[in-house]
């Protein structure tokens, strides 16, 4: 027996009581006729693999047809078993996916709206509508005397406090002179 066998080695801890169950399973005999069934199944599998190409094989066959029909003079054929065909196909798929993604992104950028919608300038409506048509709103008043603007709107000078310390009388604002002007 091989000295490195786990079952004869002393460096391995002793086996537990239930290990016999796994050994029992490991010693189960193979079913009768297993090798014959395997031979038959493998022969079948090999034949079916040779007859029916996979999805990639069908794609390559179609690609070959396209190429042959276009540049038949060159007799250029893609063989799926060649090592460079799969990386080439993968690169083409990546290119298409990235290009498509970029196209969608670019289209989104072009049609993007501004973040804030600008308000249209206020324009009087041509047909009247709700606009005031430039009219200045004035309150309806009776024709009565109106207060005219004061002649001089200069503020009153603030009096300095008296030197003797007495508080001076509070300054009374000068009343504007009124004049009666008829309101037109």
């Amino acid at each position: 027996m091989n000295p490195q066998n786990l079952h004869s080695s002393t460096s391995v801890p002793r086996s537990y009581a239930g290990e016999e169950t796994l050994r029992f399973l490991a010693r189960l005999p193979a079913p009768d006729g297993l090798a014959d069934r395997l031979h038959a199944a493998l022969r079948e599998g090999e034949l079916s693999a040779g007859e029916e190409p996979g999805r990639f094989g069908r794609f390559v066959a179609r690609l070959n047809f396209q190429i042959e029909s276009r540049i038949g003079a060159l007799r250029l054929k893609f063989d799926p078993e060649k090592p460079w065909v799969r990386p080439l196909a993968a690169a083409a798929i990546v290119l298409v996916v990235v290009g498509g993604g970029w196209g969608v992104y670019a289209a989104g950028r072009m049609g993007q709206r501004p973040a804030a919608a600008a308000m249209p300038a206020h324009m009087p409506a041509a047909s009247g509508g709700f606009s005031s048509a430039g009219a200045v709103r004035t309150p309806v008043t009776l024709s009565s005397p109106a207060a005219a603007q004061p002649e001089s709107a200069q503020p009153n000078p603030v009096k300095k406090p008296a030197a003797n310390g007495k508080p001076s009388a509070p300054a009374v604002p000068a009343k504007p002179s009124l004049s009666l002007v008829p309101v037109q």
Binding site: Y16, R23, L25, A26, L28, R75, L76
Partner: protein, 197 residues
Amino acid sequence: MCASQAIVAGWMEIPTSAVDESSRRRAEDGAFAGLVEQYSATLYRVAYSVLRNAADAEDAVQEAFLRVLRHRQTLSEIRDHRVWLVRIVWNVVLDRKRRQKTRPETDDVDELARVLPAAGLTAEQRAAAAQYHAHVLACVEQLPAKERQVLQLSAFEELTSVEIAEVLGISESSVRSRLFRARNLMAGLLGHTRSLR
């Protein structure tokens, strides 16, 4: 044929003689058939120990040989066919177990009793043994994956620790330490359930 056609044709196809090709193919077929005859039973037992289902185990062996068939031109480069094949079937089995969460056959105690050796056992003894084995297998399923795999492979007396390490792609010392942990865990699990009873 013009020069460019000749260049393209030469680049695309490797010229080989038909006689050499057919003889090489025949030799590969013969070697492959020999592998099936020699190792199918071993591979079946490896597959069955994990899947615990006869049909699934046979399918796994078939899938493993199909993988070998696709790469049969590399057969001559393989140093140890047995370990190489066990490694292939082991990976197939783990893939299948991950994908299909079917209940193993031996979870059914009656089914386990059917595959047990019945010589010298009464019906009651057989039933009790089947229950015990089912309980042990349930404990094995509770182990962490790394420890469980080493424990399952260590049950095959024809596999040394070096070969188990090759199958699992780890070092031999890792195999030993994992086996140590697995046995301790199993002893704990079995002792715990015994004390509960």
